[in-house]
């Protein structure tokens, strides 16, 4: 996993609440057996005029000019600004892979759906929760300043604006540690392999039917 320490980038505003994972990456692309290559089809139904299929040359498809990521100012954005309950719906991690493959390193929203939130951390995408009012302020700032950039400092848990205004955010200690160090969960868990085995032995005595 790529480390996340400090990131500075252009903010793309997606002014909708309840953005679901079907919208982030439509199901036809879930047929892929790979983890990469989902960027061109991120928000596919909103980005293109006609429905796409896997295997197409997406650069040749007709785009919807009014969709934020199609506007030249946001082509290279790496921080997504969104509204409440972002990432609701299915557990598909493809949603996170698609955001990352497009180039996003962080999302800022007032709230997220649980599974999406969790999946993000596992892939080095930082989901930042700011207060509704703060998110509102950022939407205004983005609308007023072309190419608006923010700096995300994970170590100090701060989002910093170009005029040095700071917003602090909470992040779970363990998740922060993993992100800062780019650590793989599985390796960490396997350090406790003996404890897992002890648990299994105990449990098997009490409830053998769970191990049949």
């Amino acid at each position: 996993m790529e480390k996340f320490i400090v990131h500075k980038g252009v903010v793309a505003p997606l002014d909708r609440s309840n953005v679901d994972t079907d919208a982030i990456i439509p199901k036809q692309y879930l047929k892929s057996i790979s983890r990469t290559g989902f960027g061109p089809t991120l928000f596919d139904d909103w980005r293109y005029v006609k429905a796409g299929e896997p295997g197409m040359d997406h650069s040749k498809r007709e785009k919807r000019d009014d969709f934020v990521l199609n506007q030249p100012a946001y082509k290279n954005s790496s921080i997504l600004l969104a509204r409440e309950n972002f990432g609701c719906g299915s557990s598909r991690e493809h949603a996170v892979w698609a955001l990352e493959d497009f180039g996003f390193r962080a999302v800022i929203a007032p709230s997220y759906a649980d599974i999406f939130f969790n999946n993000s951390f596992k892939n080095g995408l930082l989901p930042i929760v700011l207060k509704e009012q703060e998110v509102d302020d950022l939407f205004k700032a983005v609308a007023e300043n072309e190419g608006y950039e923010l700096t995300v400092d994970l170590e100090n848990q701060k989002v910093i604006t170009p005029d040095n205004k700071e917003y602090t955010f909470d992040v779970d200690e363990f998740r922060k540690y993993c992100l800062l160090n780019g650590l793989d969960d599985i390796g960490l868990t396997l350090q406790h392999a003996d404890e897992i085995r002890d648990y299994e032995t105990r449990r098997q005595e009490q409830a053998p039917w769970l191990f049949a």
Binding site: S17, N18, D20, D22, A23, P26, K27, Q28, L30, K31, S32, I33, S34, R35, D45, K50, A51, P54, G55, R83, E84, N85, C88, G89, S90, S91, R92, E93, H94, V96, S111, A113, D114, I115, N118, N119, K122, N123, D172, E173, F174, D185, I186, L188, T189, L190, H192, A193, E195, I196, Y199, E200, R203, Q206, A207, P208, W209, L210, F211, A212
Partner: protein, 480 residues
Amino acid sequence: MAGKTLYDKLWDAHVVRVEDDGTALLYIDRHLVHEVTSPQAFEGLRLAGRDIWRKESIVAVPDHNVPTTTADRGNGTAGISDPIAKIQIETLNDNCDEFKLNEFHMDDIRQGIVHVIGPEQGATLPGMTVVCGDSHTSTHGAFGALAHGIGTSEVEHVMATNCLIQKKMKNMLISVDGKVGAGVTAKDIVLAIIGEIGTAGGTGYAIEFAGEAIQDLSMEGRMTVCNMAIEGGARAGMIAVDDTTIEYVKGRPYAPSDETWEKAVAAWQDLKSDSDAEFDAEIHIDAATIQPQVTWGTSPEMVLAIDANVPDPADESDPVKSKGIADALVYMGLEAGQPINEIKIDKAFIGSCTNSRIEDMREAAAIAKGNKVADNVKLAMVVPGSGLVKKQAEEEGLDQIFIDAGFEWREPGCSMCLAMNADRLEPQERCASTSNRNFEGRQGQAGRTHLLSPAMAAAAAIHGHFIDVRSIDVRTEGEA
């Protein structure tokens, strides 16, 4: 000290270790695997040179991508016409062979939607932790189990360690008090709950569903309710164990037998919240007020009783919500104030992990019997949840009732719930669907989904528009 909730008990029984900040290693008893969210996990294991921690804990099945027409189902995967879907299913087969896992192949009668076959096989048992790379894993909570969806990184983590890294969720109790009226089903109950709490109402919580109306439900009905906990934002929904649970589990292939059965049943008696348990949030709903429900918008919380009218964005004072309503009406092609029971449909879909079990088949067949699908309905399809559900329905003659009425009777799979295979809506087509998500594009790009119960979907197919099942004379009363 207050007693424990069911969730507390399930959690405590599975904690392997806890860090100071509350992050725990939670042991997973059952891992269900399907073709869409697993290939990258297997690939990850291979790249790291890791094996599966406990192979017997895994049951794998292809369901999302499998074709549902008999023509495409012959010949194993060779019959699948979509080459990419075919690769994904073959990849699952190869991975299960390589890692020596138990898989129900596409042509096995036990194949079906992962959330239907787990319980059907007794692979889901009370007191278990159950995970699957699919958000509707909450379904299995109906058995007094802690069950929730996980992402692909976690699928790989569970494969490699049989554990998940987790923090404890909060406890929410949703009690549906009293009895529901005639014609009101489990689906109506859960849609009404989501209408009440909203799609993010359960975020961060594990929900326990309780109350007389929930206890009165069969296991099929309980699974329908828990299935949609995730649509209310809660990763896990659960229901306490009682005789209905134990009766259902008894004799299933993966269930314990003989002495172990006795021991298990004794242990399962405790799988309920203590009477003095405290919940972080409690919601009470009067069952008698629940009417048959139909969603009108693009989120499951956009739901109303059948006799209501489509809302008007002008009546909503919150500007964000008002815009949400306006956007949904445009997408759905509806007018503010339109009566729901006048909305005409183009297609009907009875199936999905929410409503494809035998009881759902019976409920829909009772409405279809002796009737014909309306002329304006281009396609009405019934997709049983598993090969075994299909077989049982055929033994009961339900397939013939559907076929005579003009419904298509299909092979088991996810089908038009998410339209990964050929079953999908064309742009602007309107569908009465027993599935669980009415998101934009869910059943096909620009398709319009209305969620409702199997009986209501069958009634809409017969009448060509939404209609209150309670106003229909069911000819099969007393039968099937």
